[in-house]
Subunit: 466 residues, 2 copies
């Protein structure tokens, strides 16, 4: 067993596993693919749906003060004037007149000159770079049947603005008073010139955003609260505490709207990278939308008459990069009886499949009994039946997709109606009566999950959240 | 109690309830809204998430032969050449040179002349209509930072094509053989000139599509199978069997790719309208993508060497219009003690909130005990706590959002640790020990739901599926 999965995991191994097991494919692959665009296959959909369901659970089911929202991707174009995206959501780009390529002017060191790959653009004699020009990152399209007659609209570059423009409706119809939050999960689109690193940065991605509205004098306190809360969400779902950290933005990094921002960062194979940004946005957004819409966006206490514009704390997470972090953190290889076993040590609540039902052999009534066991478990959770190939090979397959428990039907099962449950991580086997299996699976799914993972150092959240 | 909800429900009542209770708002309302675009509020998100979860459950958890997929919205543009959308996904439109308005040429009777609303476009003397021209319904945008340098791409007008272009990957990596299906839930976009009827037809909408691949000689049988299966999904989730029907397309209605299509239709207040189309698409899609990609898209049996292009049965449902149908079908008004009670008789699995925990009064230790009860139930399901206003008013609120059970904490509760459970539909109250509540809630959520709804005629699926 390795001491730490960071010793063995690489992005190439994750990409290969994702393709081999049908988690994630290159998009439109039969047409040569689309750059930096990916499609989720069977286990990928189940994993990502579980990530989103856990986020919703943390926001809605486990708290009283957050309501859900699902706004349209194509919003009123005034939204992007008010938010500042139309004027300021840009990257500075330069063209090379020689090689006709385009680069981010502020990140030339990250690119190679196509003619002389050992040099950066502008460093090679033949490079002939233009001045930098600002290009907006929003995808533009037209509503109405023809371009000349239609209205220009944008694919939202973030879900947040859908929340701000609905603030008044939610306040009016959901009987809320600050502090309260509005949560949204959905697609956003950014026409980035340099996406990359698998599903870490893509032009089309899914956000999980909370806008938490608070009395102005409580903003600092709630900012600290959400830092701890969101850090704990990742570690609670199994991310090793020493693979995740909070990093405070310096003054030069802060967006114009932000009074304070900290990123939750994960130690990806590409280095520490942002999983989630948590920002104290002050009253910037509500004031801007009030100005552009002419509506008052404020809270009025009907009993005291007190009125104020709430301040906003925004924990903004990426569903795709969270899924990637859970995959990377779960990835492990270990030596079992002279062979390398690849295993995803996913938290059971995130695992695409909760249990696999496997007859030891394809005869002696075992497949029939296994099918009956399978039918009893499927109302409880997503389970799989597999009778193809040797039992060892079937275990390895389930290990690779992170299935926490394998239920094996053997010769004894046919005689005494018991089965073994094999634990993905410890490989321990426990014999259980078939009668008790549904309740046992439910119990295991609801029980607190063991931490730390095998081989991982003890979590030290205090040292990283300090 | 009314005999049938169709007697009382209207689209206006549904729209008003959706706004009043925060299910669905006009999009970007502070900017005057966006035509035919809606945002889902708290209860709307919960309802629609439940609709999608039930579709996934029926496709994945309750069957062995379907795998999930989540493809990108912006696909390779060759996809739309192969699918025929680039050439043929058009509406014929005419302009009026007098009033500068644009109309669907094939549906002028549905429009009013802006100058003379009692007449249709073209009927009034001053109308001066152009010849009809074909306009593509796909939203177009550009990948890459500037239009002149970027590639033209399209927002997918259906999720189906994401499945066809991934057929080869899924076949290779998921060890499937026909018959098997690939299921997808996601947004699609159509630049319709005449959307309308609330969330029934919008430019941005969410599909739940299955492409089911079968041996060619089994296509007719599987087509019939999916008609019955999908009809049963709606009635199983509480839609009255006499409010839903299957309607076979006539030869003149069939799309060019379709060998047979039947719609599942629901009796909306606007009349019988399509909920879901179920089509026998033959081998059209796989052959087209094989032709345009140069890849072989066929199934090869490795043991027999048999090879063929599977035929496709496609049940294609709308998540938004399904949610609307569930709302409409659940809507009821009845007279209770001289007052009109509005109630959503939603299936418990679809209901946004499963139980409300309500202290009868705000004193005598009842709120504290109610909070404790609430904390015990929230790990089980989405539950709500409410102590504001009279108990009657709080019941009405929960009735309007369709909460199946209200758990009331009264004077006796504080003494003997029991509560009453009030049934939304029958108004019957049952006293239960607090200790037993979590298991009781779980049991009720998993139990078969009573059908028919109060006041509804007995389901007669045989007569409508025949």
């Amino acid at each position: 067993m390795t001491d730490s999965p960071t010793d063995v995991v690489t992005m190439d191994k994750i990409v290969a596993l994702c393709k081999r097991r049908g988690f994630i494919f290159r998009s439109s692959e039969i047409y040569g693919g689309v750059a930096s665009t990916y499609d989720y296959g069977h286990y990928g959909v189940l994993l990502k749906n579980n990530v989103k369901a856990e986020w919703w659970r943390a926001m809605l089911q486990e708290r009283d003060d957050v309501v859900a929202l699902d706004a349209a991707i194509i919003m009123h174009p005034r939204t992007w004037e008010a938010s500042g995206h139309l004027a300021g959501f840009t990257d500075p780009l330069v063209d090379c007149r020689t090689c006709k390529q385009r680069f981010r002017a502020d990140d030339l060191k990250a690119a190679s000159c196509p003619r002389k790959p050992s040099k950066h653009p502008g460093e090679y004699d033949e490079c002939d770079l233009t001045e930098a020009r600002e290009f907006n990152l929003m995808f533009e399209t037209t509503v109405g049947p023809v371009r000349e007659a239609g209205a220009t609209v944008y694919l939202r570059p973030e879900t947040a603005q859908g929340i701000f423009v609905n603030f008044k409706n939610v306040l009016q119809f959901s009987r809320r008073r600050p502090p309260f939050g509005i949560a949204q999960v959905g697609k956003a689109f950014r026409n980035e010139i340099t996406p990359g690193n698998f599903i870490f940065r893509t032009r089309e991605f899914e956000q999980m955003e909370l806008e938490y509205f608070v009395p102005p004098d409580e903003a600092d306190r709630w900012f600290e609260y959400w830092l701890a809360e969101r850090f704990g969400w990742y570690t609670g779902l199994g991310i090793r505490a020493d693979h995740v950290r909070l990093r405070e933005h310096g003054p030069e990094e802060l967006s114009h709207y932000s009074r304070a921002t900290s990123d939750v960062e994960y130690l990806f194979p590409i280095g520490w990278s942002e999983l989630e940004g948590i920002a104290n946005r002050g009253d910037y957004d509500l004031l801007r939308h009030a100005e552009f819409s002419g509506d008052k966006l404020e809270y009025v206490d009907s009993s005291t008459g007190e009125r104020y514009v709430p301040h906003v704390i925004e924990p903004s997470a990426g569903a795709d990069r969270s899924a990637l972090a859970f995959l990377v953190d779960a990835y492990d290889e270990e030596d079992v009886e002279g062979e390398t076993r690849t295993v995803l040590r996913l938290h059971p609540r995130l695992a695409p499949v909760k249990a696999a039902v496997l007859p030891l052999v394809r005869r002696d009534g075992q497949p029939e009994l296994a099918r009956a066991v399978y039918d009893r478990l499927r109302p409880v959770a997503q389970v799989e039946y597999d009778e193809g190939g040797s039992i060892g090979r079937r275990y390895r397959r389930q290990d690779e997709i992170g299935t926490p428990w394998a239920v094996t039907i053997d010769g004894q099962s046919v005689e005494d109606q018991t089965v073994t449950i094999r634990d993905r991580d410890t490989l321990a086997q426990e014999r259980v009566a078939i009668e008790a299996l549904p309740a046992e699976l439910r119990r295991r799914l609801e029980a607190p999950w063991r931490t730390p993972k095998p081989g991982a150092p003890a979590p030290q959240p205090d040292s990283t959240t300090a």
